[in-house]
Each structure stands twice: as C-alpha cells, then as structure tokens.
C-alpha cells in the first residue's frame, strides 16, 4: 500500500528539515522517495505539522510493578474508562491505564515508540506478555541490572570482561534493550532495611560502592556496543540536596566517553535536582545541573516533569518509596525482587498550593529551558510518577509559551513562585525544538536508526498535528498548540493509517525491539551459578530466559560486541 502525505509543514530535525512544505511518500512501511501518484492514497496535510512519530524514552507501562499499581488503585479506574468500539477494546485507568488503553492513548497523541524503563529480570516474562498486549506502539524494555547479585560479584572481583559477557547473556535472555540502574547499591541495602546516601558508601556484603557500579556498567556498556547509554536513576532521588549527588554521578563517568556518544542518561532528572537542607528550605538545583550539562557532551537526560494531578508513583527504588509512604501516609506496596532489585508503589497527588510540589513543577521546566541544547534533554513525566503521559501536550505548551507558564504560575504556592527561576527565563521553544525533545533526540539517544526521522528508509511512523506554524503563534495561542498535540489529526504507524482526527481507525500490533548481543565467547554459566539459581531464585536457570515464542512480534537488533 502506498500513502502520500501532501503539503504538510515537515519538521524532521535529524535531516535538518525545519518546517518546509513538502510531500512524504510511504510504501511497505518505509519512507520512500519514489511513488506512484495515481495509486497512492493521499492525506491532505496542508496547514498541518508533520513530524516523525513520537518516541518516549521513559514510561512505566508494563510489568509486575505497573500491574500491582493497577491492583492497588481501583479508585484510579473508577473515573476514567473507555468504552469498547468496533475497532478498539474497552479499558480503564487514569494514571495506570490498562495495556490496550495505553496503546490507544499514546497513538492518539501521535506517539509510536515507547520504552518501558524498569523490568526486574525475574519479571521479564510478565513484562513481555503485557508489552505484547500494548497495541499501536513499538516498544522495548530495560532490565534492572544495577543491583543484580552477579553484577555486584563480578564488580567485586574486578572482572569487567566476564561481567560484560554476563550482561550480554542477561540482556539477550530477558529480551532487553539497555542497562537500567536504579539507586545503585541502595536496593541491595534495602534488603537489610538500609539505603546508601552517597556514591562512596559501602554496599553491605559486597565491599563496593555505587560509584563502582556506575563506572563498571558504563564500561560494560561500551564493551558491548549497546545503542543506548546506561540509563541511571540516581542515588538519593527525591531527597533535598540531591543535586550534588547527581553532579557527582555525571562526573564519575566523564572519562569513559568515547566517539562523542553519550556515556550516561540521567533519567527523570527533576527528581534528582533538589537543593536545600530539608523540605522547608527546598530550592531548585536546576541551574547547577544545566550548567554542567551545557559544558559536557557525555550526558543526556529527561525531564520527569510534574503535573498537578492525582497519580501513582512507582519505582524500583524501594527505600525512596518507603520515605514517600511515611511522608504522605498513603497506602504503599513494597516488594523485594529476590536477589535482583526492589520496588515500591505509593499513590500521590501533586498540589499547586504545596510549596514542595510547586518547586518540583518549576525544576522540571527550568531544566528543559536552561539546558541550551534540546538534543540533551527530553520531554517525559516519568509516567506515571510525575503525572500521566496524557499530559505531554500541556508540557509542550509550557515549553513553547511564556504566557502558558505565567498562567500556571499565577495559581502556584506564592513562596514557590517567588523562588522559581522561570519568570527570569524568556526562552520559548520552537516546533523544531519540540520535535527534537519528543522524538528525534530520544530516537538518536536510544540508537534507533529507523525511528525519529523521516528520511528515505526510515520506518513510516508519522504524526500529523492540526496546527499551522505559519499562522499560529505558539507563544500566545498555546491553547491551540496544546489541543493539536493532544488530539493528533493523523497517526501513521508502520505505513498504516491508525488514527484519524483523534479516533483509532485501525488497530495494529507494534513489535518488541530487543538486543541480540553477539559475544565472541559465551558467558560462563558454571554449575555454581546454576546451583545459586536453584537456591536463591524462585525460577530455575533453565526456565529463566524469555524464549522467542513469548514475543508476538519480535524485532531483534543484532549487535557485535567487543568481548
């Protein structure tokens, strides 16, 4: 089938196209340069913006943790539900929608690729089952490796090559895409009711520090030629004064940079940019972090913007969630995933009138505006931790319009308002910047060669928004921009028209992207290791890997490693 998108204003930052009026041709799921005009189905995009399909680098949408969140929050489903239609299935949930609803809602905002960022290796099968049931999107998932016992042990022995082969084995057998590190060392310590508070703290029983974990896995990342950098949720997340830890984390891998590829991705950076002694003296550390990122090229990050709404926080950071539970008194789920990681879930409401929440809101936007290069910071809410992903259009409006920020600021906690750096920032992002922050930059950082751009040969994932960049001034008409990004005029996934005027017209199943890492020799799996699987895990070694038949639509990426 051929598809021709005519006369749209095309924003394709990776190919340096900035709002030119041009036609796009699609054949067999790819962007092509030659087409048969008579046979092609035409979409008239005149007066509309054409962008590559959205890419989300960090959103919790599948897996044991998300599913437990669904169980914990019937009240979240009660108010937000969708009826079944001839094409789509019914679903419920506001901050943690059911899998199908997740797929539909993303697609209706023009998103086509998403990354599920935290998967305990033990729960890999569950995660992939849910990803199979998330339609309309291509997806991948990152296994949590920062506190995996074998990783800690190899690091303790200093055998990086052997660790690299082991990580290759676990990455391929859990069908993962990148190395995720959450509160390195802290989750292992949480097994003993403790936490770590700096990069130099000792991890109980292993004689190594969080710095060793970050540096070790960063080296492994390089040895394995992984497309994405290590994806780090920093230590001390959500604690006042943690911006110093974040700076230290970024500094710790400064020397490991190679070939201008980023060495580290700091995720939901807003939660890691708190300055101050305690909650009362909390301030924004965005300026310090932005200054560092502006001077260094080895870091990328995403915002983790806070939205004033009722949401559910869920991370693998067990100790942090416990603190949050004590702070709010809300219900709490705690989980210790055997020898691998931990997890916690607490419902949370961000309030405009709360000083801390208002400061958090401000930090997220400050980061995005103070980091000069949009290729280094991406738009996320760390769904659902900062707010549901359905709020991305509101963030786009805040980033593009000083007026929009002012309108929200008016209703904020007055003390937070007086301390915010936002009134002094006059920067307003352009549509091109937004295209970078919501798709091109994320795809580039993830190393997804065929996503995030509209060049010949790219996957035909296209989003068309009904807003005319020539006649609309986003700085004043931010509401029109917000509406356009909320309700995509058309979404094309893999060359098929799936959304038309905010309505799903066709359900497609995206594929699961995973890394097939080819090492020169296989990881050493000795009898001792199998014995330990038998003794310490609930799943035996032989049953551990996610076999190929688990994934309905598999899209392996073969990578030759250096070990």
């Amino acid at each position: 089938m051929e598809l021709l998108i005519k006369n749209g204003f095309v924003y394709d930052p990776l190919n340096s196209i900035d709002g030119e009026i041009m036609d796009l041709a699609i054949r067999d799921g790819k962007i092509v340069d030659r087409f048969n005009e008579r046979r092609a189905e035409k979409i008239d995009a005149s007066g509309m913006i054409v962008m590559p399909g959205g890419v989300d680098i960090h959103c919790h949408i599948a897996g044991a943790e998300v599913n437990t969140g669904r169980l914990l929050r019937p009240e979240d489903h009660f108010r937000d539900f969708e009826y079944k239609t001839a094409i789509t299935r019914s679903g419920v949930g506001h901050s943690i929608p059911s899998t199908f609803t997740t797929g539909y809602r993303y697609s209706r905002m023009g998103y086509t690729t998403i990354m599920n960022p935290s998967m305990p290796p033990l729960e890999a099968k569950h995660t992939h089952e849910e990803l199979n049931d998330t339609p309309m999107l291509d997806k991948a998932t990152y296994p949590l490796l920062g506190d995996w016992w074998f990783v800690l042990e190899y690091l303790k022995n200093g055998s990086i090559d052997e660790l690299a082969r082991h990580v290759a084995w676990i990455m391929t057998s859990t069908k993962g895409y990148a190395i995720k590190i959450v509160n390195p060392g802290g989750l292992e310590a949480w097994g003993y009711g403790q936490n770590v508070h700096s990069l130099g703290d000792q991890i109980p029983n292993f004689c190594i520090t969080p710095r060793d974990i970050i540096r070790g896995l960063c080296k492994v990342n390089k040895l394995l030629n992984l497309p994405h950098a290590i994806h780090v949720h920093t230590n001390n997340l959500g604690q006042p004064g943690n911006y110093a830890t974040t700076l230290e984390t970024m500094e710790s891998v400064e020397d490991l940079v190679s070939e201008n590829k980023p060495a580290i991705h700091i995720t939901h950076c807003q939660f890691s940019a708190f300055k101050g002694e305690d909650w009362r003296t909390l301030e924004s550390g965005a300026e310090e972090i932005a200054n560092y990122v502006n001077c260094h090229s080895h870091v990328t990050m995403d915002m983790g913007q806070v939205i004033f709404a009722d949401t559910t926080t869920m991370t693998a950071d067990g100790p942090f969630q416990f603190d949050l539970h004590r702070l709010t008194g809300n219900k709490w789920v705690n989980h210790d995933v055997e020898t691998e990681t931990s997890a916690g879930i607490v419902p949370f409401r961000y309030r405009r009138k709360s000083y801390v929440h208002a400061i958090q809101w401000s930090i997220g936007l400050e980061l995005a505006l103070l980091v000069k290069d949009p290729w280094k910071i991406f738009l996320t809410t760390d769904h659902p931790n900062g707010g549901p992903f359905t709020n991305y259009p509101r963030i786009i409006a805040w980033l593009m319009s000083k007026e929009a920020r002012k309108a929200t600021m008016k209703r904020l906690n007055p003390r937070a308002r007086s301390r915010s750096l936002l009134p002094s920032t006059s920067r307003e992002l352009t549509f091109q910047d937004i295209a970078i922050m919501t798709r091109a930059g994320q795809a580039k950082t993830l190393g997804l060669d065929n996503k995030g751009h509209l060049g010949v040969g790219a996957d035909a994932d296209v989003a068309i928004y009904n807003v005319n960049p020539k006649t609309t001034d986003p700085s004043q008409q931010y509401k029109a921009v917000r509406k356009a990004f909320k309700h995509a005029a058309y979404t094309i996934k893999g060359g098929k028209l799936v959304v038309k005027q905010d309505r799903i017209v066709q359900q497609v199943n995206g594929s699961t992207i995973w890394l097939d890492l080819q090492t020169s020799e296989p990881a050493e799996i000795n009898e001792d290791m199998k014995r330990r699987f038998r003794e310490y895990w609930t799943v035996e070694y032989d049953n551990y890997p996610v076999s190929d038949h688990y994934i309905e639509s598999s899209q392996p990426v073969t990578v030759r490693t250096r070990v």
Binding site: P74, E75, F78, N330
Partner: protein, 270 residues
C-alpha cells in the same frame, strides 16, 4: 413534581445517575423519558423502564414509587431539590451529592451518601455497608452533609470521613469510622468491633454496647454529657477514649458507661 412508577421488576442493575433534580431542570417530560440509562449491558430510555408522570405540587421534586433495589446512583452529584422514594433502593445513593435532600422509606444498598459533600439523606429503613465511605481504594471520604439512618447499617460506615454527620438510630457493623479524620458519627444502639480503627480525628459516640475497645485507644476521662449536633446531646455518663495511637491519632470515642460494664476495668487507669 415528577413521579416514577417502575413498569416491571428489574433483574439487572440500572445505572440511573440521571434521576437527579439537576438533570431534570428545564427538561420537558418528553425529554426526561428519552434520557439514556444502562440496564445491564443494554442502553435504554427512562421511558422504557418507568411510567413517568408530572404532578402539580412543587416538592418533592422527584418521587419513585415501588421497589427499585436494582437502581444505582440515584441523585448522584445533585445540588438542589428533593427526592423521595417509597421502596428500597440500590447502591451508591446520592453519591457525591452537594446539596438538596433525599428521603427513602425503605432499605438502601451499599455506599449510601458515598463521598458526599453536602445536603441530607434520611433513610427510614436500614442501609448497607460503607455508608458515607468512599469508593474502594480511595481515601476521599465524606466532606460534609448529614446522613440519618433509622435502621441498622453494615460495616465501615463513615470510613475516611473528613466532615459532616452520620446518625444511626439502629446498630452498626464493624469498623465504624475507619480512618476518619473529622466529623461526627453517632450510633444509638450497639456497635460492631474495631470502632474507630486508625482514626486520627473526629468523634464517634456509641450509645449502646461496644464489646471491646481497640488496644490502641487509651482512656481519657468519664464525661457526664456528650454533644452530638447543635441542640442535640446525650445526657449520660460516657467513657472517653482517645486514639488511634498506632496512627498518632487524636480521635474521640465515646462509649456509654451504663451499657458497657465490661469496660469498667479501664477506670483504674483514670
């Protein structure tokens, strides 16, 4: 006044949140008959389920004659007017109501006055579980208004309550005032166990028997008189317990001295 007469006995639940004075305002009888409701998984018009008649008198705004125990969410989010039902009604009566008045001459299902913010509900029969309590999982309890039940109530009445008054002239089930923060609950007769579990504020008054008080409550004093509402008080000796200590709470649990001789062992701590 608009009168509703069910045409048949309902077998499946009918989600009738459109039976509400706010919805009927400025609507002709014909338009009311055409309002859509779900009966089980089928969408129906109100006129297919009820004979609907208009009468001249002004109050009450809506009356329902007959057993409608499958009818859910009557008067949901209402802000004014009056609903009168002569018969039993189903779950979620007056959910999130903000004003007005509902009177039921019959029994009511669960979640009566759930998440209520204002207005008044009077139930002449008994009520089910979760009177004035929020929906499952939610912590947003009753924020205002009054609920008066002349019969008995089930478990967890007034859970997560933040403000308002619940008066029960019958007896109550377990966990009354679970996690309540403020407001008043009065039970004239007996009360099930675990009254006031996890409460951090507010007042529970038990005029009948309460077999035991949770160990996380401590006795404070014996009061000769307890105020329940403006111009309404209970003139008898009452034990006052404070708790729930496990939640660092400061809720007040009053229990009748005369009806609870088994609690006299607490007097030695005074």
């Amino acid at each position: 006044m608009i009168g509703f007469f069910p045409l048949r006995k309902f077998v499946f639940p009918v989600i009738a949140d459109c039976i509400c004075p706010d919805v009927f305002k400025d609507k002709s009888l014909k338009e009311i008959r055409e309002l859509q409701v779900w009966e089980g998984n089928k969408q129906k018009q109100l006129g297919q389920l009820f004979r609907i008649e208009e009468a001249k008198q002004e109050t009450p705004t809506i009356t329902i004659q007959g057993d409608v125990s499958k009818l859910r969410r009557i008067g949901a989010r209402m802000t004014e007017g009056e609903i009168l039902v002569n018969g039993n009604v189903g779950m979620h009566l007056g959910e999130e109501m903000k004003g007005g008045r509902i009177t039921i001459h019959g029994n009511v299902g669960g979640w009566a006055g759930s998440m209520m913010k204002g207005g008044e509900i009077e139930i002449c029969g008994s009520a089910g579980d979760y009177v004035g309590a929020p929906y499952r999982g939610s912590g947003e309890g009753m924020k205002g208004g009054r609920i008066i039940v002349h019969g008995n109530v089930g478990h967890e009445a007034g859970a997560f309550m933040k403000k308002g008054t619940i008066k029960i002239y019958g007896s109550a089930g377990q966990f009354i005032g679970f996690r309540m923060r403020d407001g008043t609950i009065y039970v004239e007769n007996d009360c099930g166990p675990r009254a006031g579990a996890c409460m951090v504020g507010g007042k529970i008054v038990v005029g009948g028997m309460l077999a035991s008080v949770l160990p996380t409550f401590s006795i404070d004093s014996i009061k000769p008189r307890v105020k329940i509402e403006e111009e309404e008080a209970l003139e008898e000796a009452m034990y006052l317990f404070l708790g729930d200590v496990a939640e660092s709470g400061n809720g007040k649990l009053y229990v009748s001295k005369q009806r609870n001789p088994q609690l006299s062992c607490y007097e030695k701590f005074l």
